[in-house]
């Protein structure tokens, strides 16, 4: 009797929209807060990209002032990485990990909420740099000294200082999140949920968060030293005063290359969840896929100098890091083949989530191949700082990551909202995104091979054709967000009521109501089999014997 009342009570709480605007400690509310906040920043970062593509429609520097253009690409990169990809994936993990491992919440709910509320804080700090003398930082998202310590405005509060503050707060928030995720996954699993019964997504999140723990502090150290140089007169990175600017590059890339895996690993996890559901087959090679996430995390700590092949790096060092970089493709390739084997011969259901996942996988394989090219020293020296590099990482960050996130948002939308999304609008969204992304980022490869440099607002007229194509693709991408926004808001308000498990998927998150009650499980489930038993008759859990007290 009491159970009924408490369930109703929970249901009432779940439907209260005010929770999403409060300091809630419910991991599901925080997850959605992360996702919505980061999507708003995604739109802002996308607006900067539209301005960049608008400028690059013509060879002359005519739309934007050159210093404004510098600020645009700096802010575009910073917003997209630190305020879109990181927080949106943290949000997804926040929503899914406790549900998937059978926990009622994260290990430290208040820490979780505090980590989220830092996101709008550092976002506002970063964007407020438009209103300080000299405007926002102009040194690119990696802020290499000596450019980043020049401070042309001459004021104490300047764009670069605000950039550094934002990045540092973002780092603190990420470390708080990482401590929380690692503790939750290690300590809070339901009875019977052994490591090798965790969904591959949870393995991927664990690996990604371990990278945050060992990598991020290096960036923080570099940022603190850069801040001292910029504002307090030290000379750590100032070559004219005996400092060493290359050391900053080491600090920066020791984190920021592994950071790429912090972003891509959860997307790999999304692939591993989405493909089995819509192919109706178990994930191929589950244990190998799970372990390869940890291997990627390990090797990722040893590759950072491949960003510095042209920074006066000695030959032997280039060779070593070329080797380690190639090595990453082994565990990654294992995963790709496992996904292909998963969908091979399956009865595919091509709804929006599956289309996005397949599209993202194709884009990822393409970016992986250009990644191998860039990892080899002779090619890298040739295309260093050209649009070939820009094309490569946009295939990763838009093609694989953003499209993978879309796949996840569609796949789990019924669970999060309790409503079904509109399939037609979803497929239109996929079409615009897939065509737009390829039109936008593919032409960057020939442009780079021909020698067009990145971060320059004017270019030789012979590059015009591919730039116009890329800009058209960019504007298509801008438009592609409209059906998505319409779909999500419309479906959340008026969509068809979603059942608990609309995709007939296997997983603890699909065994609770849509949306799940406040503490997820009325009784903690006891897990008795692995996560991908498609086509097998074994149940995932057994009911807990509640009569024994």
């Amino acid at each position: 009797m009491t159970t009924n009342i408490s369930t109703e009570h929970h249901h009432e709480d779940v439907m209260n929209w005010r929770r999403y605007f409060s300091f809630s400690t419910d991991h599901k509310v925080i997850g959605i807060q992360y996702i919505v906040t980061s999507f708003l920043f995604f739109l802002i970062g996308g607006f900067f990209a539209m301005l960049i593509r608008g400028e690059l429609l013509t060879p002359e520097s005519d739309l934007l002032d050159r210093s404004v253009y510098n600020a645009m690409f700096t802010m575009h990169g910073t917003v997209m990485l630190f305020m879109w990809t990181f927080p949106v994936l943290t949000g997804l993990a926040n929503y899914l990990v406790p549900l998937m491992i059978g926990a009622r919440d994260m290990a430290f709910p208040r820490l979780n909420a505090a980590a989220f509320w830092m996101v709008p804080v550092f976002g506002i700090i970063l964007l407020s740099s438009f209103f300080v003398p000299g405007g926002p930082a102009q040194a690119g998202w990696w802020s290499y000294p000596p450019i980043s310590i020049q401070n042309p405005a001459g004021t104490f509060i300047n764009g670069q200082l605000l950039w550094l503050m934002a990045i540092t707060i973002s780092g603190v928030s990420s470390i708080m999140g990482a401590v929380n995720f690692v503790t939750t996954i290690v300590k809070m699993r339901a009875p019977g949920m052994t490591y090798f019964r965790m969904p591959a997504y949870v393995w991927a999140v664990l690996s990604a968060q371990i990278i945050q723990l060992f990598g991020l502090p290096a960036l923080t150290a570099g940022a603190v030293m850069l801040l001292c140089d910029l504002s307090f007169g030290t000379t750590f990175f100032d070559p004219s005063q005996g400092g060493n600017p290359v050391l900053y590059q080491h600090f920066f890339w020791f984190y920021s290359h592994p950071a790429v895996y912090v972003i891509i690993l959860p997307v790999f996890g999304i692939f591993s969840e989405v493909f089995p559901v819509y192919a109706r087959k178990p994930l191929f090679g589950y244990r190998v896929v799970a372990i390869s996430s940890l291997l990627i995390a390990g090797v990722s700590a040893l590759v950072w100098v491949h960003h510095m092949f042209a920074s006066g790096t000695p030959g032997w060092m280039r060779m070593v890091f070329m080797g380690t970089t190639m090595l990453v493709s082994v565990p990654t390739g294992i995963k790709v083949f496992a996904w292909v084997a998963t969908i091979w011969g399956g009865k595919l259901r091509l709804n929006t989530a599956m289309l996005f996942a397949l599209g993202a996988l194709v884009m990822f394989v393409f970016s992986g191949i250009t990644g191998i090219m860039l990892g080899s020293v002779p090619v890298d020296i040739h295309v260093n700082n050209t649009y070939f590099v820009v094309g490569h990482f946009h295939y990763v960050l838009y093609g694989a990551v953003t499209m993978g996130v879309y796949a996840a948002l569609y796949h789990w939308f019924p669970k999060m909202s309790g409503r079904m999304y509109n399939e037609g609008l979803g497929q239109l969204h996929f079409l615009l995104t897939f065509v737009g992304a390829n039109l936008n980022f593919w032409p960057m490869h020939p442009l780079g091979l021909q020698g067009m440099l990145r971060r320059v607002s004017s270019y030789d007229p012979e590059y015009t054709f591919w730039n116009v194509i890329a800009s058209i693709g960019g504007f298509l991408l801008g438009m592609s967000t409209l059906p998505f926004i319409l779909n999500i808001i419309g479906s959340w308000v008026t969509g068809k009521q979603a059942p608990d498990n609309p995709w007939r998927a296997i997983g603890l998150e699909w065994m609770v109501s849509s949306p799940p009650p406040v503490e997820n499980f009325d009784e903690i489930p006891i897990v008795i089999s692995g996560p991908y038993g498609y086509g097998q008759s074994e149940p995932l859990t057994k009911s807990q014997d509640v009569s024994q007290e």
Binding site: K187, L213, L216, V224, C228, F232, G233, F236, F251, I524
Partner: protein
């Protein structure tokens, strides 16, 4: 009715103190990477900078910092005794040892401020000055945080029954203090011994 009760009980079977300690340990591992980064930077600067010491500076005085080091390292044992005393429910002994730890940490900070006052170079004296003040200052901030945590633990010992159920606060404070200690030993060797 039995349903609700059993789920409530299940909720509390999770070992919250164990989680907190595990999380704090993971945090300290991460924090140590900031120091490792600074140390790596220091080693690069020390081995590659042509004019390492600023003009008019011969090197660093070792004697007083060595005394400081001995005091800080000893305080790690004292806080361990405090932990043991609390474990044996001897609250007054616990307070005594904790107060002694705080006094030793305080003396360390005092000694360092005296040293800073007498140095002839500043934060802006090239990469040498910058690294010296950055490393000792960042570590000093951690010592200060440690003493602050200890004083909170001391005050909380006057709340009746505060330490009856959970020793997480004092265990974490103690672990943090050992961490600060180990970092200082590496720092002392790098900056003062290796000149």
């Amino acid at each position: 009715m039995s349903n609700t009760i059993s789920s409530e009980e299940l909720h509390h079977t999770h070992d919250e103190e164990g989680n907190s300690m595990f999380g704090f340990f993971v945090f300290l591992l991460s924090e140590s990477v900031i120091f490792l980064s600074f140390f790596a930077g220091y080693i690069v600067y020390k081995t590659t900078t042509p004019n390492w010491l600023p003009p008019g500076v011969d090197g660093l005085e070792v004697r007083d910092p060595a005394i400081n080091t001995i005091i800080l390292v000893s305080s790690s044992f004292v806080i361990y005794f405090a932990e043991r005393a609390l474990h044996n429910k001897n609250l007054w002994l616990f307070r005594l040892f904790l107060l002694a730890t705080m006094a030793m940490g305080g003396y360390f900070l005092y000694g360092q401020s005296v040293e800073w006052e007498h140095l002839t170079f500043g934060f802006n004296s090239g990469v040498f000055g910058g690294s010296f003040y950055l490393l000792t200052g960042f570590h000093g901030l951690h010592v200060f945080t440690g003493v602050l945590l200890q004083s909170i633990m001391l005050l909380r010992s006057f709340i009746p029954g505060n330490y009856d159920n959970s020793h997480f606060g004092i265990n974490a404070t103690s672990l943090f203090w050992h961490f600060v200690d180990v970092i200082w030993i590496i720092l002392f060797i790098l900056i003062y011994i290796w000149q």
